[in-house]
Amino acid sequence: MPATLLANGFDDPVFDSQAAFRTAMWALARPGRVEPIITALTPPAPLNPEAAALVLALCDYETPLWLDAALARVPEVGDFLRFHTGAPIVTDAREARFALIAEPADMPDFSDFAQGSPEYPDASATLIVQVEAFTGGLVLEGPGIKGRAAFGATPLPADIVARLAENRALFPLGVDLLLAGPGGVAGLPRSVTVKEG
């Protein structure tokens, strides 16, 4: 058997988890603002360290996790996530509480994921989306934003504004997005209204 070494998890599971959670919390509470995250994780490519930190902080045996095609085709990614979180990795997107997306341009429709029910809108998926850079070009409004906020990230699907508008129209149902890029995390909760800037 080839001995492949598993990449390390958090140096300090308690405080590193807490820091990553606080980043995610502020990211969703202040949509569009890029919240800094510092992590020493070196996950197997194409999983980026920021997205890995979010998954290690938030997922466990209770949270089915879905990986997009780019991540699912690399077995080391699944091994890394399973070992450090214990989360079951599912192939049916609808079952997932968390979804990890490494190639946002090809991401499936939001309606492929759990949207919650009118009685339990919280039973919906959180999408952790890897991006290469935070840019601009979009204008956000909604809870958590004082007036308006400029935001953008790349790469995202070409029709991201239409997708997010559909997601907003479902409120209080819908999915929540955490965008993980170099050194930062930004949130697009279902409550946010997105327009072209």
Partner: protein, 338 residues
């Protein structure tokens, strides 16, 4: 003999902030969904805490899940830093998380509160954690959880308006004075916890993140920063807050929430700030209420001759005045609080 000498107990250590890591993850996931759906009550698997229900177990669990080693924690109980609930919870986190604590509303990064919002305006990086006894605003109108859940799903809040209307029919005005229902971000009607309605306007467009935890009822809900929070009312009976006839007797503050303090059995009473940190800050800055006396430095040097105090009055005009420590032994009636 081993290294531990006979008679010394092994030091009991806890995981950081008492809760185990899986519990924290579960609570953290609930907090994220609560923020994404402002005002919606997210069910969570509240744990038994080393304190009874009704003593802030929900708030404590939310604080424990959010808290980090760099945080500075403030805990208030009806506005006061020095009452039982506040002292106990502050001590709990000092022991289990060894975080810095403060009584200053400005220095704190996390403020856990029972039934008040600080008078000092909150800022962007602060988190306000409310202790909530009954999170469901419709519970006393509709006891069945299955029904209230559906009413929220349908945004059917007519029942709540009927309740407020019945107040008007019976009393001529909306007589609900605490736990006054609010509508969050134009969608969910939410119980702001039993804060006086005086504090409701502070929830609207607040720069801080507001988290609500109900331990016995196992619910977490949230208001993100800069979110529209509207107190329910009618066009011809608009929402108004309590007014006080006199300023604080200790710091002369106006436009703040005051507690009534009974001074004797002859009808003597005074009204003082419920927010002790705010009141102490104002007194330190030189503000003097009518019963505060003179500050020690400006007090005239007195002769050794004893002052006659045979009139039985609780204070003489030139006495040292009342302090918070003296008040703590007296009966405090929190206005129209439960």
């Amino acid at each position: 003999m081993n290294a531990h000498s006979v008679g010394t107990m092994p030091e009991i250590t806890y995981n950081f902030a008492y809760l185990d890591e899986q519990t924290k993850r579960m609570i953290r996931r609930a907090i994220l969904k609560a923020i994404a759906v402002p005002g919606y009550q997210v069910p969570f698997a509240a744990r038994e805490m080393p304190m009874p229900y009704g003593w802030g177990t929900g708030g404590v669990q939310v604080t424990a899940a959010v808290l980090g080693p760099q945080d500075v924690l403030k805990v208030i109980d009806q506005g006061a830093d020095d009452t039982t609930n506040a002292v106990a919870i502050r001590g709990f986190f000092e022991k289990t998380a060894r975080v810095a604590t403060t009584t200053s509303a400005v220095e704190a990064t996390i403020i856990q509160t029972r039934h008040r919002v600080p008078e000092t305006p909150l800022s962007e990086n602060q988190i306000l954690v409310y202790q909530v006894p009954i999170p469901e605003p419709l519970r006393f109108l509709e006891p069945r959880e299955t029904e209230t859940r559906q009413l929220h799903a349908l945004a059917e809040y007519g029942l709540m308006h009927v309740k407020l209307y019945e107040d008007i029919a019976r009393h001529g005005h909306i007589a609900t004075t605490y736990a006054y229902p609010v509508e969050v971000a134009g969608r969910y009607v939410m119980d702001p916890s039993p804060i006086p309605k005086f504090d409701n306007p502070k929830l609207d467009d607040c720069p801080a993140l507001q988290l609500f935890g109900a331990g016995r009822e196992k619910r977490i809900y949230a208001i993100p920063p800069y979110t529209k929070v509207r107190s329910l009312d009618f066009e011809d009976h608009p929402f108004t807050v309590q007014r006080f006839a006199k300023p604080c007797a200790l710091c002369a503050a106006t436009g703040v929430y005051l507690d009534e303090v009974i001074l004797d059995d002859k009808g003597g009473r005074m009204f003082v700030c419920s927010d002790t940190d705010y009141c102490n800050g104002r007194q330190a800055a030189g503000h003097r209420g009518e019963m505060a006396g003179e500050p020690p430095s400006s007090r005239p040097v007195r002769s050794a001759e004893p002052v006659s105090r045979d009139d039985g009055a609780p204070f003489s005009g030139d006495g040292p005045g009342l302090s918070r420590a003296m008040l703590s032994g007296m009966t405090i009636q929190g206005g129209d609080q439960p």
